[in-house]
Every structure is written in structure tokens, then in C-alpha cells.
């Protein structure tokens, strides 16, 4: 095994790559594809996406039909068993993808929009505006996310919409910080100096020059956050602060199995579904992070926390 120190060939993130003399073409593949885990991640996510789209045709039963015996153990008829009111758990797990996947994407998109806008303005305008905006960002950073989400859900009543809103409120600051630091570093580079010389107004330059350069790292951060979004949403639903019955949501399905833990199938399969989706997103996000240049990779890595 080659010692990494002995091999000066480093990937952009400082991770050495073993070059293959025999397959130079691999270098031209998108970085993500060079990693087997990324492929696994893509397969997992694609599978779930297809299941979500085709749920009505794939699911063996109506996810809401209470037609079967209660707490039936897994069998040929019900591979994942049935739940407290006699619904087919396999069908509910499949339909659950229709809840978690789109909401995770929506949640992250909203957070990115808010965060990137605030961050870009702070970084580009600078001065008092920057200071004020960043204090607000600090505030939301220090605010315990889960408490905020719980209070919102407790007050407005549990619903997935409210849970999404609550999570957006606490997750946008991460994007604001990353975007701001990227914009700040861009300000010093030639791009903007050049466009200023060309007489571009601030707004135009922001859109034309800053956006494309910021988009990459922010999207990577977003892809890493997709997994977290699924976890947070299902966590809130587990606490009874998210999905409303009878909707087939994985977190609330796990929760309904907690009291009857010896009927292990009630909680086991929805939990596996969450685990696999989050794993898929994280495999993918991890590979994208590796493919990114080191500076922004570092800022993404820290702000992800």
C-alpha cells in the first residue's frame, strides 16, 4: 500500500488519489462517479424516488385501509406485518417516501433560498448591514433548533408544514454563513474588480459573477443537509410534533411501535426506511464534498455542524 505522504498526487481536498496509468479516462468522469459509495447513494435515492412516484402501483395495499388484523407479524401477505389499526406496514413504508423525500427537498430549498440571499447580501454589501445580519445569524445559530421546532409545533399544532417551517427557521443560518464567506473571498478576487471596472451595477454583478461561483459549494452543503432534513423531520414526527395521522410518515410510524416493542416490525421497517434514505443522501453528499475544492470544502464541513 502506497503511503499517502509518498504520493504527492492529491485530490482537490487534499486526499490523495491513486492514479491509474491504465484508465486515464477515469479522470474525466465527474468526481462523484469515481467513488463507489456515491453510486450506491444514487441507487438508493433513485429507488426511493421511483417507489414514491409509483407508490399506488407498487404498494400491495391501500396505506390507509384498516382491513387487516392488528399487529400481524410479517408474513407472505404482509411482508412487513400490520400496525395498531390493522394497516399493511409495507404499503405505508412505500407511501412514506411520498412524504419524506419531497419535504426534505422543499425544506432544504427554502433554507438555501433564505440563507444564501441573506449571506450574499451581508457579504456583498458589507459594513453595518453585514454586522447586523450576522448578529441575527448568530442568534439563530445559538438558538436550540429542537426547542424552537417543538415550540412552533406545540403552538401552531403539529403538522408537517409547521415542522418544515420550524426547521427552516433554524437551518438557514448555516447557508448564510457559507455564502457570506464565499462572497467575501470572491470580493477580493479579480472577477468583481473586473466587473466593477466594466461598470456593472452591484445587483448585476451579484447575479452574474457571484452566484455561479457560490452555487457549487452551497449546493454541496444542501445535498449534505438533505439527510439531516429527513432525520429532523422524522424526529419531530416521532415526538408527535410533525406528521398528523393517518398520514404514512416514517417517524410517526416508528413512534407508534415504541410502546409495543416486542411487535418489533412496527418500528423496525419504517426506521430502516429512514436510515436507508439518509444514508443514500449522505453517500451522495459526501462524494460531492470530496469533489469540491479544499477551501470551500472546509467551510462546508464546519458549517454543516
Amino acid at each position: 500500500m502506497t503511503s499517502p505522504a509518498a504520493d504527492p498526487a492529491l485530490a482537490p481536498d487534499g486526499i490523495p488519489i491513486r492514479r491509474s496509468r491504465w484508465f486515464p479516462a477515469r479522470q474525466r468522469l465527474p468526481a462523484a462517479w469515481r467513488r463507489p459509495l456515491a453510486v450506491v447513494g444514487i441507487v438508493i435515492i433513485l429507488t426511493w424516488t421511483i417507489l414514491a412516484i409509483l407508490a399506488p402501483w407498487v404498494a400491495p395495499h391501500d396505506p390507509l385501509a384498516q382491513n387487516f388484523g392488528r399487529y400481524l407479524a410479517p408474513s407472505a401477505d404482509h411482508p412487513f406485518g400490520t400496525d395498531v389499526v390493522g394497516r399493511d406496514i409495507l404499503s405505508r413504508v412505500i407511501y412514506g417516501a411520498r412524504v419524506s423525500l419531497p419535504l426534505a427537498v422543499l425544506l432544504v430549498t427554502l433554507s438555501v433560498l433564505v440563507g444564501a440571499t441573506v449571506g450574499a447580501i451581508a457579504g456583498y454589501v458589507g459594513g453595518v448591514v453585514d454586522a447586523a445580519l450576522m448578529r441575527i445569524v448568530d442568534l439563530f445559530f445559538a438558538f436550540p433548533a429542537i426547542i424552537l421546532a417543538m415550540a412552533v409545533a406545540a403552538s401552531l399544532g403539529p403538522s408537517l408544514t409547521n415542522a418544515v417551517l420550524a426547521i427552516v427557521v433554524v437551518s438557514w443560518p448555516a447557508y448564510a454563513r457559507v455564502t457570506r464567506s464565499l462572497v467575501l473571498s470572491l470580493r477580493e478576487t479579480n472577477y468583481l474588480a473586473a466587473s466593477r471596472l466594466l461598470g456593472d451595477s452591484s445587483g448585476k454583478a451579484l447575479v452574474k459573477e457571484v452566484m455561479p461561483n457560490v452555487a457549487g459549494p452551497v449546493l454541496v452543503l444542501a445535498s449534505l443537509e438533505l439527510g439531516n432534513a429527513v432525520l429532523l423531520l422524522s424526529g419531530l414526527s416521532f415526538l408527535g410534533l410533525g406528521a398528523v395521522p393517518p398520514s404514512a410518515e416514517w417517524g410517526s410510524m416508528v413512534s407508534s411501535g415504541a410502546a409495543v416493542f416486542y411487535n418489533y416490525w412496527v418500528a423496525l421497517f419504517p426506521g430502516l426506511a429512514i436510515f436507508s434514505v439518509v444514508l443514500g443522501f449522505n453517500f451522495l453528499g459526501d462524494a460531492m464534498r470530496d469533489a469540491l475544492d479544499p477551501r470551500s470544502a472546509r467551510s462546508v464541513a464546519t458549517s454543516e455542524l
Binding site: P4, I15, L37, F143, I147, L279
Partner: protein
């Protein structure tokens, strides 16, 4: 210089604290329902006199901004108000539940550091090999597993199928907690020299702490690995190797020291953000800590308790960040000026 740095940080921390109180106040005020009256029994709630008396007792009959300034005034005197649900001063609630969570979080962090950093070093030394790939899966698995589900499985396997660990609580029923020094039963029982109590405390602590450490292990593993690799690629490391120093000496003396500094910052942030995990884990393990307290307070709209917990958590977060900043300030003086 250093003094001014700390002072300015403390100043902004204080502003942050006021902001947090304000946000929690506004948030909770927008909510329908209030904790005071929802604690009333069905009959008492039908009596307007009793309802009014209860609201007056908790100051809920005052306009919001008055409540806010009263709260700030009390806060300056070190009074966080009285929890509507537990009917005890929020401060004494925090003193009771804070150490329980701290104990959990600290043990989880220790486990995560040992396992996460250790495996991260292993991964970096075998970068891109099979072991590294396997550890990458472990790391990503750690951050991907729904912690409430992991907790349920852990309880089922270790407290039901195999009775290795007790299912809930901090001590066996009827055991008198050790006299409070730190509030952490493991430490306090050792200080009291009571080994039976210590055994009980630790057997209750292990399972929830392990579950809580899972995401942190994943995080530390990844971060240690990339931090190590960065240092391994540095000139001075290669120079040291070229000088013919043994590899393990190079790694121990030069690489680890450089690589672990950024890991400390990650550790700080990760520790402060354990709260979300503790809410779920404490719920399942019946662990009487801050997370469970926060959950019950929030779902009961217990305003003094919510603000108290929020403030407490924010202070932990700010303090940890201050320490991290401070450490960085010492290591790299340029930051102080930035």
C-alpha cells in the same frame, strides 16, 4: 489584547442572550393556549375566578412587553422564574436536570472521541484502502441512523431480550442519589466512596450514552481523517520522513498535533449541538435530563421553563464557542484581529 478580545466576545454573548429571550418570548406569546390554565383540572377550568387567579399568579395577565421587562429584571437578580409545570424555580430545575444531561453528553463525547478520532486516524493512514472505505461507511452510517430508532433497538436488545442494562432512569428504584456535588451520579458516588451506587449509576448511563455518541462518532471520524490527510500532505511532514525519522514518531509528534487542533473546534460545536439528540434519547431512556425537560416544557407551553432551557443551552453553546475561539486565539493570533 487578549483581554479586549474576551471582553468583546462576552459583550456580544450578552446581547445574544437578550435576543434569545426576546425570540422565545415572542414565539411563545404567539401561541394559543397557556400552561397555567391547561394545568387546571376540568372543573377548576370552568371557574373564571380560579382561571384569573392562576393567570395573575404567573403574571400572564400582564401585557407581553411588561412580562419581558419583568423577566429581564428578575434575570439580573439571578431569578429565572418558576416553572408552571413543576412549580419549582426554573433555576433549581436546571440544576437538577442539567447535570444529568451533562453526564450523558460528556460520556457520549468521551466515547465518540476515543472511537471517532481513533478510527479517523486509522482511516487516514490507510487512505483510500479497503479499511478506509469501510470506515467511511461506518462514519456515514453513524450520522445517518435515526437516533430515536437506534435507541429503541438498543433498549429492546439490551434491556428486554438480554437484560444487560436497565431500561430507564439513572439509578435503581429506591436508591438514594449521592449527595450533590457535581450532580453527576457517577462522579458523586465515587466522591462519596459508594461503589454499589457507582455501579448502578454507570450501568444506567452506558446504553443511552453509547446511543447518543453514534452520530458524533461518524462526525469525528470523517473530520479527523481529512484533517490528518491535510497535515500528512504538508511539507514538514515529508521533510521529517525524508530525514529518516521513524514513521510512528512522525505521526505522533508532528502529524497528530497539527491535525487535532481543527478537530477540537468540531468537537466543541458537536458537543453543544448534542441537545437535539438528548431530547430523543432521554425521552426513550426515561433519563431525567434537560432534553426531556425541554420537551415536556415545550409541549406544555411552560414559558418560564422554555426560556430558561433555551437560555441555558445557548449559554452552553456560547461558552463552548468562546473556549474554542479562545484556544484558537492562542494558537493563531491572527484570528483575534479578524
Amino acid at each position: 489584547m487578549l483581554f479586549r478580545f474576551i471582553l468583546s466576545r462576552l459583550g456580544s454573548a450578552a446581547i445574544l442572550a437578550v435576543g434569545i429571550i426576546l425570540v422565545s418570548f415572542v414565539l411563545t406569546a404567539l401561541l394559543p393556549g397557556d400552561a397555567a390554565t391547561s394545568r387546571l383540572g376540568e372543573r377548576a377550568a370552568g371557574n373564571p375566578e380560579i382561571v384569573a387567579a392562576v393567570r395573575a399568579r404567573y403574571g400572564l395577565d400582564q401585557p407581553l412587553y411588561v412580562q419581558f421587562f419583568i423577566y429581564l429584571g428578575n434575570l439580573l437578580r439571578g431569578d429565572l422564574g418558576t416553572s408552571i409545570r413543576t412549580q419549582k424555580p426554573v433555576l433549581s430545575d436546571l440544576a437538577q436536570f442539567g447535570p444529568a444531561s451533562a453526564e450523558l453528553a460528556i460520556v457520549a463525547t468521551i466515547v465518540a472521541v476515543i472511537v471517532g478520532v481513533g478510527l479517523g486516524i486509522v482511516a487516514s493512514l490507510r487512505a483510500n484502502g479497503l479499511v478506509d472505505q469501510a470506515l467511511r461507511v461506518v462514519s456515514l452510517g453513524g450520522v445517518s441512523i435515526p437516533i430515536f430508532w437506534l435507541a429503541l433497538i438498543a433498549v429492546y436488545v439490551f434491556s428486554t431480550l438480554n437484560r444487560v442494562f436497565p431500561s430507564s432512569g439513572r439509578l435503581n428504584p429506591g436508591q438514594t442519589p449521592p449527595s450533590q456535588v457535581t450532580g453527576m451520579y457517577t462522579l458523586d458516588s465515587l466522591l462519596a466512596g459508594d461503589l454499589t451506587l457507582f455501579a448502578s449509576a454507570i450501568s444506567h448511563l452506558i446504553l443511552p450514552a453509547l446511543v447518543l455518541s453514534a452520530p458524533m462518532i461518524g462526525l469525528l471520524l470523517r473530520f479527523t481523517r481529512s484533517s490528518m490527510l491535510e497535515v500528512l500532505g504538508n511539507e514538514y511532514v515529508r521533510a521529517a520522513e525524508a530525514k529518516g525519522l521513524p514513521r510512528h514518531t512522525v505521526i505522533l509528534r508532528h502529524v497528530l498535533r497539527g491535525a487535532l487542533v481543527p478537530v477540537i473546534t468540531v468537537l466543541g460545536t458537536a458537543f453543544a449541538s448534542l441537545l437535539a439528540g438528548t431530547v430523543l434519547v432521554e425521552q426513550i431512556f426515561g433519563w431525567p435530563g434537560i432534553g426531556a425537560y425541554a420537551f415536556r416544557s415545550a409541549s406544555n407551553l411552560d414559558l418560564p421553563a422554555i426560556v430558561g432551557v433555551t437560555l441555558f443551552v445557548a449559554i452552553v453553546y456560547i461558552t463552548v464557542n468562546l473556549i474554542v475561539d479562545f484556544l484558537y486565539g492562542i494558537i493563531d493570533p491572527r484570528i483575534r484581529r479578524a
